[in-house]
Amino acid sequence: MIGQGRLAAWGIGLAALVALPFVYRDPYHLHILVLILIWSFAYTSWSMMGRFGLVSLGHGGFMGIGAYVTALLWNHLGWSPWIGIPVSMVAAGALALIVGYPCFRFRITGHYFVLVTLALSGIVLQVITATRDYTGGSLGYTPNRTAGNKLLALQFDDKTTWYLIALGVWLFGIVVWHWVDRSMARYALEAISEDEDAAAAAGVDVTAEKLKITLLSAVMTALAGAIYCQYQMFITPDTVSGIAVSLQMVFAAIVGGLFVSLGPTFGAVITIMLAETLRIGFGTKAVGWDNLVYGVLLVLFIIFLPKGILGSVLDRLKPQRKVSRAHEQEAVQIAGPGT
């Protein structure tokens, strides 16, 4: 339960974040902040599943659906993103249910679950590439600039507006994270991630609980994709979809810390700052270097620091919290096929 002090800290932090664009207007830095906030939201959405051992590599697919459905509805049917975004979220949710239900019903866990979701992001990527007459294929896609109402088209030119939108969305993600963290579903899911049979025996509806969190996570990821598309006004299959994006989410969430609410945000800050620093420092020579560093870090983190930077730091500060979170000692615990 959030104490008075923490609540105050959150309030002050938020006020500072809201006030920031009115005091500090450097467009480049604001751009980076917007990107960090949008990706943080996506990573947070991923981690809501990931922290319960449901490691999905299909979130690139959900993100791609969010981005492409919104943009396609706008360009081809003239539907405003205000309608398009909910439609894309419903589409992603439907896909999550279609894939999730058999997975959970037939107890596809561990490696199998990862690879099935990998197939999912593969499908979305290939469909986007294959329908190149509509989506522009791998060359990318741009929502048409609106001539009319900017609010209706959800297209804004100034960074401050986008910053506030991204901040709102990010905050929404954090609130949902805490809501899940304090709900009964969390205990059910933790029980499931430790032992499905035992959880089922204790009266937890394993399939329903997993489906709920998957649905929530997928829908939020689609929202992240749609917001990213509206902000960047240019999407390619590789930047919003596919296995690389999925792995990027996993990576950032793990580096930041999977089990604390700000962990994925922290991961986003680190990864985006790292990419930008390398890009500025090395220019075009840096192509590939950022991913090289990511990859090495990911391996090192999983071996030496599976709870992520923020998670480990918080643990160091508050050793008593370990008691109630014993399952996190083993990072993402999943019943292997052999068990």
């Binding site: 490691v55 690879l115 099935v116 690389a244 870090l297 990911l298």
Partner: protein, 293 residues
């Protein structure tokens, strides 16, 4: 109905046979991955990237140093085998006690490393060997020698692995470990050595696949993504660790891709294959050949 009969002609037959030829290489890839999964209980997400490195090795040996293809191929196989052993030693071994998902994610990190290493070292240009093998015309059908050669070499590779697994002591130990990893240590088998050998064999199979794929496809740092996911799907469809299931699934997938490509774009072949995979997960969640529990 008429439309269906119209397409039933030489093109269909050609696509079917091309599918079988493609299936050979896919089966080889799936075998390597299955071997590692079955024995070490680890999924190498970066498996296709090992193949990519092997393809680069072939490219540089043949194009830059003028090594003959048939000399370069064994060298590449050995090189990738060493890479596989190194991957196990450096990344998997420290994580053997960790939850399986962490091992999988760590190899995901290796995927990033290999991909960007190739980007940094070799650039993002598409490169090919420049070897143009003739096309075999058979009636009205056309097959490239490259595919035929790959198919045969893949078959030979698989037979060699089969013989190794059944006729040698080490092979027997590997098969035994995949059945019960705890008990084998009590039987006096050094599991660490077996794991290392298995990883090397898995790498060698990736290397062999690289030698064959480089004949048909251009090399670039992201080439792994074009056949990596399909390899995983084949293994899962066949049942992870199930060699025969993986073998059959490889041909099923290759046919779907090949026939899908006949009717529409190649991407739709892949889409069909992916969709088929997800439908199969409903029907047979534990793989094609899994026994009903």
């Amino acid at each position: 109905m008429q439309a269906f009969l119209d397409i039933f002609d030489v093109y269909l037959l050609e696509a079917v046979i091309n599918g079988i030829l493609l299936g050979g290489v896919l089966a080889l890839l799936a075998l390597g991955l299955n071997l590692i999964f079955g024995v070490i209980d680890v999924t190498w997400i970066c498996y296709a990237e090992l193949v990519m490195i092997g393809m680069y090795a072939m490219y540089f040996m043949v194009q830059y140093y003028g090594v003959s293809y048939f000399v370069a191929a064994p060298l590449t196989t050995v090189l990738v085998a060493m890479l596989g052993a190194a991957l196990h030693y450096l990344v998997i071994a420290p994580l053997l006690a960790a939850p399986p998902i962490n091992q999988l994610l760590a190899t995901g990190g290796v995927l990033f490393v290999l991909q960007s290493f190739a980007t940094v070292a070799f650039g993002i240009d598409f490169r090919n060997l420049g070897i143009r093998l003739p096309v075999l015309a058979f009636g009205e059908m056309h097959f490239s020698y490259a595919r035929l050669l790959s198919f045969l070499a893949a078959l030979v590779g698989m037979v060699v692995v089969y013989l190794f697994m059944t006729r040698t002591f080490t092979g027997t130990a590997i098969r035994a470990i995949s059945q019960d990893r705890q008990i084998m240590a009590l039987m006096g088998v050094d599991t660490r050595r077996i794991y290392l050998i298995t990883s090397a064999i898995g790498g060698a199979l990736a290397g062999l696949a690289a030698c064959l794929l480089v004949l048909q496809y251009d090399v670039h740092p992201f080439v792994g993504l074009s056949f990596g996911p399909i390899t995983f799907l084949i293994c899962v469809l066949g049942g992870l660790g199930n060699f025969i299931g993986g073998f059959i699934a490889a041909f099923v997938f290759a046919e779907i891709i090949s026939l899908g490509g006949l009717f529409s774009d190649l991407e739709w072949g892949y889409v069909l294959a992916f969709a088929f995979f997800i439908v199969m997960m409903f029907i047979r969640p534990a793989g094609l050949l899994a026994r009903r529990r």
